[in-house]
C-alpha cells in the first residue's frame, strides 16, 4: 500500500465517522437556535435510535428499512415527549438550569435503556451488501456510502426546510429574535417542541447509520454526543453548515491522528480542538451564551 493510498483510506474513514458527528452536531445546533440551550441528551437520541432499530428488526421480523424508519420516527416522538415533560414546564428558567435538565434527561434515558435492553452491546446488519468497494487504492464499505449519502441527504433536506418552508422560516425567526418572532405570531413554544423532535430525529438517523459499522449499547451515545458537541463548537454553535464542517474536520483529524500518531491520542485530539476553540474564539462562537450565563 503506497502512502497516498493510505492517506486516502484515512480520509474515507475520517469522512465516514465525521458524517455521523456532523448529524449529531446538527442536532445540537437546531436546539441551540430555538432555545439557546445545549442539549446534552443529544447523544442519547443517537443511542435510542439504534437500540430501537436493533430490537424492532429481529423482534417484529420486519425488513431492515422498516425497522430503521420506525426507530427514527419513535425517537423523534421521544424527543417531543422529552421537551413536553422536561423542558416546557421550566421554559422560563435560566439557560444553565435548562442545560442541567438535559444532563438529567441524558442520565434518565441511559438508565431506562439499561432497564429495557440490559448492558449487552448489540449490532445491526449492514443495509446492503457487505462486500468492500474498491476506490482507487483504498476500499470503502457499502455502509460507509450509506452514512455519507444519508448525511448529505439530511443536510440538503434540512437546508430546503429552513429556506423554503414556513415552519423552517419560523424556526429561523426564533433563532434570530424570539420576542420579535412571537410578535409576528409565531408560536415559540411550538417551535421549541418542533426543534427537539427534529434534533432527536437527526440523532436517531445518525445512530441507525453507524450501528452496522460499529455496535451500540446503553452508553454508546455519550461519546458520540461529546464528539458532536465538539463539532458543533468548532463550526460555531447554531450554524448548520458549521456543524457539518466541524463534524467532518473532527472525523478526519481523528482518523489521521490514529493513522500517523497513535490511536490513543484520537479522542484527545477531538477534545484538544474543543479546548483550543473555547480558548481562542469563545466570544465569536459562544457570544450569546456567555452573555446569558
Amino acid at each position: 500500500m503506497e502512502w497516498y493510498d493510505q492517506l486516502l483510506q484515512y480520509l474515507i474513514t475520517g469522512i465516514t465517522t465525521g458524517a455521523v458527528y456532523a448529524l449529531v452536531a446538527l442536532g445540537f445546533s437546531i436546539i441551540y437556535n430555538s432555545t439557546e440551550i445545549i442539549n446534552f441528551a443529544q447523544g442519547e437520541f443517537v443511542m435510542l435510535g439504534s437500540m430501537i432499530a436493533v430490537s424492532l428488526f429481529p423482534l417484529l421480523g420486519v425488513p431492515l428499512w422498516v425497522a430503521v424508519i420506525l426507530a427514527v420516527a419513535i425517537t423523534a416522538l421521544i424527543g417531543l415527549i422529552f421537551e413536553r415533560l422536561a423542558i416546557r414546564p421550566v421554559r422560563n428558567g435560566s439557560v444553565i438550569n435548562l442545560i442541567i435538565i438535559t444532563i438529567g434527561g441524558s442520565i434518565l434515558l441511559k438508565g431506562i435503556a439499561v432497564l429495557i435492553w440490559g448492558k449487552e452491546s448489540r449490532s445491526l446488519p449492514a443495509f446492503t451488501s457487505t462486500e468492500p468497494i474498491k476506490f482507487f487504492g483504498a476500499t470503502l464499505s457499502g455502509q460507509s456510502l450509506w452514512v455519507m449519502a444519508g448525511t448529505l441527504l439530511a443536510v440538503i433536506l434540512l437546508h430546503y426546510f429552513y429556506e423554503k418552508t414556513i415552519t423552517g422560516k419560523a424556526l429561523r425567526a426564533c433563532a434570530f429574535n424570539r420576542k420579535a418572532a412571537r410578535l409576528c405570531g409565531i408560536s415559540v413554544e411550538r417551535m421549541v417542541l418542533f426543534s427537539f423532535g427534529l434534533s432527536a430525529l437527526l440523532g436517531a438517523f445518525a445512530g441507525v447509520l453507524i450501528t452496522p459499522i460499529t455496535y451500540t449499547a446503553w452508553d454508546a451515545g455519550t461519546m458520540l454526543g461529546l464528539k458532536g458537541f465538539c463539532a458543533a463548537i468548532l463550526g460555531g454553535i447554531g450554524s448548520n453548515p458549521g456543524a457539518v464542517m466541524g463534524g467532518l474536520v473532527i472525523g478526519i483529524v481523528e482518523s489521521l491522528s490514529a493513522g500517523y500518531l497513535s490511536s490513543g491520542y484520537k479522542d484527545a485530539f477531538a477534545f484538544l480542538i474543543l479546548l483550543l476553540m473555547l480558548y481562542l474564539r469563545p466570544a465569536g462562537i459562544l457570544k450569546k451564551k456567555l452573555e446569558k450565563v
Binding site: 457487505t130 468492500p132 455496535y215
Partner: protein, 389 residues
C-alpha cells in the same frame, strides 16, 4: 435507575435457602462466609454478570444439599463496577467487617491486582477469575504469591497455542492489534516475548482504546505492512469492530483473536465479518464437539445445561471461571474446615480436577494448574463454532 439496579445487585445475598429435613438438627452449625467481588457493572459487565449468575446458582445448589459438612455457606457479593479503587474497598470490607473465610474474584486482571496486596497481608485465600499471570506470580521477583490462585487460562498458554498453529500454517510475518487495557497489554507483552521463539517477525504493532468504534486507521497501516496474519488481542466489543473493519477494508489476511471473544455474543455482534476467524478457546463453547472420552465433557455439558435452564442465556467461559473457582474453593473448605491456612494448602494440592477451563493440577509453584491443552483452536463457520483440524 442505575442506582436502583446497583443496590439490587449489591444486596444479593445467596444462601440460607430451604434446608433438607435431614439437616434441620444441624441448623445450629455456623455458616461459612465466602466473600465475592466481581465486575458486575461497568466495562467488564460481560464478564462479571455470568460469574455472578454462576456463583448464585452453585451456592443455592450446595446449600440445598446441606452445605459443606453440614455448614451452610453464606455468599457475600459486592460489585466493584470495574473500578480498581472500589475493588479494594469492597475486598477490605469483606475481610474486616464481614470476616469471610475466603474470597472469590475479581473479573479483570486490573481489579484483581488491586486487592492482591491486601489479601496477602490479611492471609485470606483468594481465587481470582481474571487471567493475567501477574495475579499469581510477582512480576519482579517471579515468586508465586502464597495466597492467590486463579482459574482462567494464562495468556501465555493462549499465545503458545496460537503460535503453534501459525507455525504449522507456515506464517512468518504477524501483525498485532491490541486494546489498551490490562488484558491487551498482557497479551501484547506475551506475543512479543514468545514471537522470537517461533522466528516470527512482528511487522506491525497497533493499539486501540476499549471504547473505540473504528479501527480502520490502524488496520490500514497493517494492510500495508505485509503481515500474513493479524492477531487481535481485546475483549469482545472492540474485537467485533476490528473484524468488521477488516472486512470493510477488503483485507484477506488470516485473523486470529484472543480467547477473550469466545462468546456467542461476539458472533452476533460481528455478524458475517466473524466468518473464518480463528481463536484459542476454552472447551466450554465447543463441549458438544468434544470426543466422549474427554474428561471435561461431562462437567462442561452439565454446567451449561444447568446454567442455560436457569438463566435462559447462553453460557460463557467467564461463568466457567467462576464455576471452577467456586468448586475448587468449596472442595478445599470441605477438606480443611474453617481454617484459612489449611484451605490455602488444600487449594495447592488440587490434582486432576476436571473444571470448565481445563484439568487443574495445582502445586506450590503453580497456582493456575493448567497447560496449553486447556485450549482448543476453534473457528467460526456459518455463525457457529467449529474445531480447527
Amino acid at each position: 435507575m442505575k442506582k436502583l439496579a446497583l443496590t439490587a445487585v449489591l444486596t444479593v445475598l445467596v444462601g440460607l435457602v430451604a434446608i433438607s429435613v435431614a439437616n434441620t438438627a444441624e441448623q445450629a452449625k455456623e455458616t461459612y462466609k465466602i466473600g465475592v467481588v466481581l465486575d458486575i457493572t461497568g466495562p467488564a459487565s460481560s464478564l462479571g454478570e455470568p460469574e455472578k449468575q454462576t456463583l448464585g446458582m452453585l451456592a443455592e445448589e450446595l446449600n440445598a444439599k446441606g452445605g459443606i459438612n453440614g455448614h451452610l455457606i453464606e455468599m457475600i457479593l459486592y460489585d466493584n463496577e470495574g473500578d480498581e479503587a472500589k475493588s479494594l474497598i469492597k475486598a477490605k470490607k469483606l475481610i474486616e467487617q464481614d470476616k469471610v473465610l475466603a474470597l472469590i474474584g475479581t473479573s479483570q486482571s486490573g481489579t484483581t491486582m488491586a486487592i492482591v496486596p491486601t489479601v496477602t497481608a490479611a492471609q485470606i485465600p483468594l481465587v481470582s477469575c481474571a487471567a493475567s499471570w501477574k495475579i499469581i506470580r510477582d512480576p519482579e521477583t517471579k515468586k508465586t504469591r502464597e495466597w492467590v490462585f486463579k482459574t482462567p487460562q494464562s495468556d501465555s498458554l493462549a499465545v503458545t497455542k496460537i503460535f503453534d498453529y501459525l507455525q504449522k500454517k507456515g506464517v512468518k510475518k504477524i501483525a498485532i492489534m491490541s486494546v489498551s487495557t490490562g488484558y491487551g497489554d498482557s497479551g501484547r507483552a506475551e506475543l512479543q516475548r514468545l514471537a522470537p521463539n517461533y522466528k516470527f517477525e512482528i511487522v506491525a504493532d497497533e493499539r486501540f482504546a476499549p471504547t473505540d468504534t473504528d479501527m480502520s486507521a490502524q488496520l490500514t497501516k497493517i494492510k500495508g505492512s505485509g503481515a500474513e496474519a493479524v492477531i487481535c488481542w481485546a475483549i469482545r466489543d472492540p474485537s467485533a469492530v476490528v473484524a468488521k473493519n477488516m472486512k470493510q477494508l477488503g483485507m484477506k489476511q488470516m485473523l486470529i483473536m484472543s480467547h477473550g471473544v469466545a462468546t456467542k455474543k461476539f458472533i452476533e455482534l460481528a455478524g458475517d465479518a466473524s466468518e473464518g476467524i480463528i481463536l484459542p478457546a476454552g472447551k466450554l463453547i465447543v463441549a458438544d464437539l468434544l470426543p466422549a472420552t474427554d474428561p471435561q465433557k461431562k462437567v462442561l455439558i452439565d454446567y451449561r445445561n444447568k446454567f442455560e435452564a436457569k438463566y435462559k442465556t447462553p453460557v460463557s467461559t467467564f461463568g466457567g471461571h467462576a464455576y471452577d473457582a467456586f468448586t475448587m474453593l468449596t472442595d478445599a473448605i470441605k477438606k480443611a474446615g474453617p481454617d484459612q491456612k489449611k484451605i490455602r494448602d488444600e487449594l495447592e494440592k488440587v490434582k486432576g480436577f476436571p473444571g470448565t477451563g481445563g484439568i487443574f493440577n495445582m502445586g506450590p509453584d503453580d497456582h493456575e494448574g493448567l497447560t496449553k491443552d486447556a485450549f482448543m483452536m476453534v473457528t467460526i463457520k456459518n455463525g457457529n463454532w467449529e474445531l480447527v483440524k
